[in-house]
């Protein structure tokens, strides 16, 4: 799939559909050969309120590919960089494993790969930017991926029509992973 020139890839996750099955985690680990102990995505189940007035929100979380990516700003070698369609990517060769980006990420999205470089979600850019393994495998179809700068895309329609939030907005990073609530 060829990305539009000004494409802005985002992920939109429907917390009302997510059942917390972790298929996205397994799909990601399989597709990206994520090593044992490392995770590029994970599921958070947040229970709010007191019994019997409870709400449960399941969220599949990952790197937010932030607009204001502090990991890129703080990387001393340029290994963390802006990739295609505004995504945040890591150049494994340039990475020294100084872990400054782990410190700089408010989301805990990064981990040290056994080979020494820092690893995280890539939005599966090796698949061309059209889809991700977690989007494909999700049994409830709660993960949507696409170009937010294309008004006709599914993610644009969802963001325009449904209330949504991002994780830790106060951190000022402007995440590109949105949660429909």
């Amino acid at each position: 799939m060829k990305l539009r020139e000004n494409a802005r890839l985002v992920m939109v996750l429907d917390t009302r559909k997510c059942v917390g099955c972790s298929a996205c985690v397994i799909g990601c680990k399989t597709e990206n050969a994520v090593p044992e102990g490392g995770f590029r995505d994970w599921v958070v189940a947040e229970t709010k309120g007191g019994f019997p007035n409870l709400t449960l929100e399941n969220r599949s979380e990952r790197c937010n590919h932030c607009e204001n990516a502090s990991c890129i700003d703080n990387c001393p070698t340029g290994a963390s960089h802006r990739g295609p369609a505004g995504t945040v990517q890591i150049d494994r060769v340039k990475c020294t494993g100084c872990k400054n980006c782990i410190a700089a990420c408010p989301y805990g999205a990064r981990f040290v790969h056994p080979k020494g470089f820092i690893d995280k979600c890539t939005f599966c850019m090796h698949l061309g930017g059209g889809t991700t393994s977690c989007t494909e495998i999700c049994p409830t179809s709660c993960i949507h991926f696409g170009d937010a700068n294309d008004p006709a895309s599914e993610v644009s329609r969802l963001l325009a029509s449904r209330p949504h939030k991002v994780i830790a907005p106060d951190a000022g990073t402007k995440p590109r992973v949105y949660y429909l609530v």
Binding site: V44, T96, C98, I102, G108, G116
Partner: protein, 311 residues
Amino acid sequence: MNEVEILKSVEHVKPEAWWEWQIPLYLFLGGIAAGLMVLIAVRYLVDPQDVRSRVFRHLAWLSPLLLSLGMFALWLDLEKRWQVMRFYLAFRPTAPMSWGAWILLAVYPFVVLFALSELPESSRARMPVRLRRLAEWAEAPAVKRRIAIGTALVGVALGVYTGILLSAISARPLWSSSVLGPLFLTSGLSTAAGTMLLFRISAWERKALSRIDTGLLGLEIVLLGIFLLTLVTGGSAARQAGALLLGGPYTASFFTIVVIAGLAVPLLVEGREMLGHHGSRWLVPALILVGGFALRWILVAAGQTSGWHTL
């Protein structure tokens, strides 16, 4: 009430300690190296004709020695140690760590030239001819003045950098404070004074250093107070981070080792010495050094547990 369950290894959602002993050790040794550069160079600039003791004239060599040890610790922390040259294949103006890598390179020529120029004649006799000529060149007053100014400035940059390295990381609310740069510089100057007091410098030098150190310890207490104040008067993330030191798991170690043993007791003992009471030669320097190391150890460890994404 919120209950959060994370279906993933917890240490990867909130990695508790990706930086271990190497980083605080580097910040500590780098701080002393920076402080030594500033104190020794400023002393020369204030009075070039002042008679410096033989031991004092050799102390400038401690700076590159300690900095090299610190850089070795930093190198040990890298996951891909043999890719260390990548720091010098790029300059990233937004990354304090990149600035630091280049500042570290600038330190050596200045401090080594200054240390060479400070060597007494008797110590130079055994040096190779080229090195001796370099020392003679650096010793000329006009040249030495420039080298001393450069040494002091690079020393300040190095001392401030050790704090800014942490304060630039806004994702960790405990570190995200502009006070950390001046605080680490002051602590670096104070620990450098403490290190110098461990050597057999002259009685006059000891007295002068103790006085300077008293002022530095007082300033450090004020800066530490401002640092804590900015945390407790900040937003919810800053307040949560401040609670780590004020009532949380790091409170006991922070107040007993850093504030009481590392700052208040040395300040009291040095104050008594200024009034004419005799103190132990080792007690104050040892406490200052332990307190300086504990400050960095605790801030690095506690900062890693602070965050915005409160899971």
